[in-house]
């Protein structure tokens, strides 16, 4: 995979994004920018609107207003399957492993959207457990293995921007560590990553920047180098 990291290239620009589920107004004007090759986190409390932001980018919420530019292209009127084809890989919070598909079927389900994705061999090298269990039913895997599968699945497609929702949630420390290694490797490959994360200690050493989301708005932007000086502000927002 050879994507040249270009910190000036805006891969994602979200401006004034509002989102609604039925009558409830979830996002109240999200503004954020993610450059190519950056790893950016969305931090915040449960219900702040972080997962909804990812879903809104994928056009998976009820109604949206505002603007979402991917690679400089306005996507507000795009159907979800067109958004994936712009090179966006989405890993949902519930992991979305299909129980009626085997591990390998799960892995090969998402169509390749760009050239340069990982081959099945590369993926099995990165996640040996998945190879051993490739004929098992997808949901028979352990939670950690399912999370690996959910990640591996979008690496095959060649997506160069990953939207990852709570990938460490409920997993054993050794699995979380492995996921951290995977993210480092992906960053080195030049992938752009937007990470919704509860586990700040996991996200802090990996991320270039952090956005703090509260009540459906971005309330703070913190660069990796400002973390120490803004720690108390952050703690206030996260309630830790």
């Amino acid at each position: 995979m050879s994507v040249n990291p270009d910190k000036e290239y805006e891969q994602l620009r979200v401006s004034g994004l509002h989102a609604f589920y039925g009558e409830s107004h979830i996002l109240h004007g999200i503004d954020l920018v993610v450059n190519r090759g950056e790893l950016v986190t969305l931090l915040g409390r449960n219900g702040a609107g972080r997962s909804t932001t990812l879903k809104a980018i994928m056009n998976m919420v009820g109604r949206r207003t505002g603007s979402i530019m991917i690679n400089g292209e306005e996507t507000m009127s795009c159907a979800p399957h067109h958004i994936a084809r712009l090179g966006v890989g989405y890993c949902p919070e519930h992991r979305g492993i299909f129980s009626s598909l085997s591990v390998q079927e799960n892995l090969t389900l998402p169509p390749v959207v760009r050239s340069g994705g990982m081959s099945l061999e590369e993926i099995y090298t990165m996640f040996p457990n998945l190879y051993e269990r490739r004929t098992s039913q997808g949901t028979k895997l352990s939670g950690g293995e399912q999370q690996m599968l959910a990640m591996a699945r979008i690496l095959r497609t060649g997506a160069n921007m990953l939207l990852l929702d709570e990938i460490t949630e409920g997993l054993a420390p050794v699995i979380v560590e492995k996921l951290g290694e995977v993210l480092v490797a992906l960053k080195e490959k030049g992938l752009t990553i937007v990470l919704v994360e509860q586990n700040f200690h996991f996200a802090a050493p990996l991320a270039d920047r952090h956005y703090v989301v509260e009540h459906g708005q971005i309330v703070e932007e913190i660069g990796a180098h400002e973390l120490t000086e803004k720690q108390s502000v952050l703690n206030g927002y996260l309630g830790v």
């Binding site: 994928m58 998976m60 159907a79 979800p80 399957h81 067109h82 958004i83 994936a84 084809r85 989405y90 949902p92 979305g96 299909f98 129980s99 009626s100 598909l101 079927e105 090969t108 389900l109 998402p110 169509p111 959207v113 979008i154 497609t157």
Partner: protein, 295 residues
Amino acid sequence: MSMIFGVPAAVLSGQLLIGVINGAFYALLSLGLAVIFGLLKIINFAHGAMYMLGAMATVIMFDALGINYWVALFVAPVLVGIVGMVIEYFFLRRIAGQDHIYSLLLTFGIALMIQGVLTNIYGVSGLRYSMPDVFKGGVNLGFMFLPYYRAWVIVAALVVCFGTWFMIEKTKLGSYLRAGTEDSQLMQGFGINVPLLVSLTYGFGVMLAAFAGVLAAPIYSVTPVMGSHILIVVFAVVVIGGMGSIGGAIITGILMGIIEGLTKTFYPPASSAVIFLVMVVVLMIRPSGLFGKEA
């Protein structure tokens, strides 16, 4: 003459044959319903009308254009499949995600309209369709006489059922369908054109019904209301097998045909009720159906 449980063997095997044939039709129809319910989550009350359209199209195409049975076997399902996709695109799509009752009422209404229009034109007395010459006659198996056409119906239905099962359970396209049945939104998020998949699935499901209709044309009375009679039984079959189970729909269809046939032999008055009796028992013991996943 040899007797089995006090019934002549020839009578028993004759009823069994009729049972297997009816079962083949139940299997084809409930399979289509299961495929449609799986992905679209709609209860397709227009299914009987699509079966009827397949049979009517076969007869009408022969009378008007001289199109023979073999061509009709392919053309009629394709035409009905297109009708289905048009219905999906213009009507069903608009109520996707709503309560089941809306799609049930809508498809029921569509079925009534199609039936009504055709009844106005052709009446309900039944159209005549003679089977192809190659199927005239039959073979004596010693214990029973097997008409060639009946044998063909069983083989054709089994081949199509097995082919459908194989396509859904073992192929890449089938994995899209299975995954879409579980979480179609995420599928679309992966870049799969789910609206197209939904149209094709509905089209394919009603094609199966139309295929059954073509098979039925030479042996059953072809009338605009033929679909509404069989549909109720087929829904009972689907409930017994478990909504959305592909293999379950096929096996249950054939099984129920056989049970119906046996009942006709041993206690004829119960033959039209026995499937519903089985349905009641299954619903009490296993509410999700014989092959359905426990909720």
